[in-house]
Amino acid sequence: MSASLDQHAASVGNRSHPLQTWQILLALAFVLAVGKALLPPGLVRPPEWMILPFDDWINAAFDFIRNDLGLVVVTRAIADGIEWCLDVTGNLLYGRNRWPRIGPVPWSVVLVSMTMLGYALGGWRLAALAGGTILWIAVMGQWRWSMETLSVILVAAPVSVLLGLVTGVAAWRWRAFERVLNPLLNIAQSMPHFAYMIPVVVFIGVGPKAGAVVTIIFSVPPMIRLTLLGLRKVPSEVVEAGKMSGASQWNLLTRVRIPTARTEILIGVNQVIMQCLAMVVLASFIGMPGLGQRLLQMLQALRIGPAFEIGITIVLIAVTLDRLSRAWAMRKPVHHNPGTSWARRHRLWLIWAGLAVAAWLLAQMVPYFHIVARGQALSLAGPINAVVNAFLDVVSPFTEALRRFLIVQVLIPFRDAILWLPYTTVLAVVAAAGWALGGWRSALVCLAFIVPIAMTGWWDRAMITVYTVLTAVTVAALFGIPCGIWAAGKPSRARRTLLVCDTLQTFPSFIYLIPVVMLFGVSDVAVLAAVMVFAAVPLVRYTVEGLTGIAPEMLEAGQMNGATRWQALRHIRLPLAFPTLLVGFNQSVMFALFMVIIAAFIGTQDLGQEMQRALSATDVGKGLVLGFAVAFLGLMVDHLLMRWSDRVRTGNRRRQGAA
């Protein structure tokens, strides 16, 4: 009781304090905005002297490294090694005319193998999923593109896993290395996909090998993180038992630590595979063949039917790979009873071998089971087109009106307002937010992120990005949070919703563009819709998790005090779930940023568009500057929201302690 009184007194004390620094900053921002007309131009737009030619410097540095130091020779040698691997998988999977020239493996053999793999890892359901996916791909005539995509993943994922594992172990072993690595990983994971592509194009060129390299680079960070996490989580007693067994450092690592961290490491593998898939699809922008390229072409040609089919294929592949690798990660070893025969112990292998041979023989006799020729493939494109067109005829007046309304009444005024703001106002607001949530330190951190953006000369573009993300996340919150609250009402519903969110998050981001292009055509609103849907998923997810993760006794206490459902939600559940919700917002903003950049190719006017131009012109400096700008925006929001979440969390705890 007395504790809560003290706290109350303290907060009153705070309030009676003349003015908090952040309030002063906010007031300053307001004054700057109102007095815009009176401001010298240098306070309205970043003045010329402030803008530094970062891009020229980066270009010069890259030129130097690439040509003068001759790094291009090294990178191209590495790329040639990767290309050799790609040739092998390419030959095996889709009969590319390269060594070892024995492919392609008939689809029926792949079907049998994947089904068996699914069965071994997760029983009949997974077998059906894996088999069904392969069957769909083959019968729908998407074999070649899918195999082009998979042949890259088959090379990129193991390389990433290996790189991630080695780096992760090094970071775990040497603290100093980890300290250097951590901020790099933070930036790397908030850089948009395109920013990775440009340097790769410079050093390696375009085509499948460049795509593979960019895929590898992009998918390594989560592996490093999870390796580190796994190694940290190994119970100390297991390590001590290893030491007491007389294991050397190397033995401890290879036979004790890594095997014990198996689950986390395999979840890392799962992450790598999913990141690879997401990137492989996007890498079509730099000449990666396969599903992504096909999807890009079909979307650009506005051919919704085929695009939809490819979308289904990508989704099926994503879900299958995700479930398979997760089942592998979660799989626990099971003993055989003593005296089990060899054949029985290896029953699944034997069945697989038998079926594979049978399928291979079948494929030799009936070419259909080897490769489904173009003419033999089924296609749903016609019916899908018809349905979509019929649907569009019904909704298009509505979507058209919606689009017009959004553009004229909401988007344009909002965008103009944001662009109208003097940049000093924005800086002051950011500093105020930082100060309010985390004191002067946070204010400085935030400024350190946003001032460089002003110095790049891309201020207006960055503000358009901010506006798109803000709008999208706001709208996403408007329907995502109620959705989450509704879903959290019942445990079974919550579980199902989480499963749906999980599945949606495995989809490569590119997929989200298909339905929006279908509904809104190629326009601002389509971009916004895609970003919104993509950003809503984490919001729903964390709302559900936040609301269902509350300790039951808190709710029971509320019930005993006679709170109605609404009161319980308003006064107990939402405040307690708030920190989790903030984490959801954080992820939502990250997702939105990524999506905004990807959506550039359906026509935006923000950083993403410039980034795509930089990609076309192979302008590394510009590309990286833009990439850093996006990453900094993301990191700033991350910093603010996480600070806020921590604050609320400790506040909640204190309040609980006082109660």
Binding site: R96, V206, G207, I286, Q300, L302, I412, Q609, Q612
Partner: protein
């Protein structure tokens, strides 16, 4: 079947290495053809692919960025590009040529032009066209919700790197450039405008199927000059074929076919039409075109 072909190719390669340079045979390595994001290029690439396959070469297609491709050709990552448009790619092409490794293997008869363009119905609504000053004077009739008072110029995808933004600024035009995401998006907008005869000005080019579907005219800007931002694009641009320097040596007969390739404006427009209007897959469009024009392409084979 395929395997047999591989074996034969392998044997041929073996024979080559024993027989020495006198027997100039094409290498069994695949010839890599880049695909870009406009229809005629894709169809033409597939036509070439079919021809080379018939010639006994092995062919692979990769999608590539239409600007970055010249650097890739120079390095030998991809081996040729069948449509080098002067207005769009001369700069990248010349830059790559200056560094060596890439050359023009031939030129089509087709004359190319890329420019701001309007369908004929616009002409009634904005007197004085095709002069650019007249266009600028009635800019507001092209205004859309997105652009406010200023007229909208619908540009191509950003990766075509047209200097539209720079031109608007240099000539102080009353327009805002809005980039369509793809060529198809351009045609979709144009078709939508046709329904109500809404004024529209957009990026277009010749040879292209659009001339047959929607009659229209290019806007006349001050004539093209090297490095001039306040000028138009070249009015009679070339359409060349780019090839990797190593191609002639590795695949002499394929190179010979490539250098004989020569399409005209109507032929190229027809290829685009098959895809953009008929809705064929590019592969099917290539075969359809080849069936129609067997004499044309047979003449370029050995």
């Amino acid at each position: 079947m395929q395997r047999k072909a591989c074996l034969l190719a392998g044997a041929a390669a073996l024979a080559l290495s024993f027989g020495g340079p006198a027997m100039a045979e094409d290498s069994s390595d695949p010839i890599i053809i880049p695909i870009h994001n406009w229809s005629s290029q894709i169809v033409m690439s597939h036509i070439l692919g079919e021809m080379l396959t018939e010639n006994g070469n092995s062919v692979e297609f990769v999608s590539a960025d239409s600007q970055a491709v010249y650097e890739a050709i120079r390095l030998g990552d991809v081996h040729l590009q069948v449509e080098v448009w002067e207005g769009a790619f001369a700069e990248s092409f010349d830059a790559a040529r200056a560094q060596g490794g890439i050359h023009a293997a031939g030129a089509h008869d087709a004359i190319t032009r890329e420019e701001w363009w309007y369908p004929l119905w616009v002409k009634d609504q904005c007197p004085g066209l095709p002069d650019w000053e007249a266009l600028n004077a009635c800019a507001e009739i092209f205004a859309t919700p997105e652009t406010g008072d200023r007229g909208r110029f619908l540009g191509g995808p950003v990766d075509w790197l047209k200097n539209d933004h720079e031109r608007v600024e240099a000539m102080d035009l009353n327009f805002t450039v809005v980039n369509a995401g793809s060529a198809a998006a351009l045609w979709a907008e144009l078709a939508a405008a046709e329904r109500n005869e809404t004024p529209i000005v957009l990026f277009n080019w010749t040879p292209n199927f659009a001339e047959a579907v929607w009659p229209g005219e290019f806007v006349e800007f001050p004539p093209w000059e090297e490095g001039c931002l306040a000028c138009g694009h070249p009015a009679d641009g070339y359409l060349k074929i780019a090839a990797w320097d190593g191609m002639q040596e590795n695949w002499p007969s394929a190179y010979a076919i490539l250098s004989r390739l020569n399409f005209t404006n109507p032929q190229i427009a027809e290829m685009a039409r098959l895809v953009d209007v008929e809705g064929l897959d590019p592969e099917d469009a290539a075969i359809a075109w080849m069936e129609e024009n067997e004499d044309t392409w047979r003449a370029w084979m050995n």
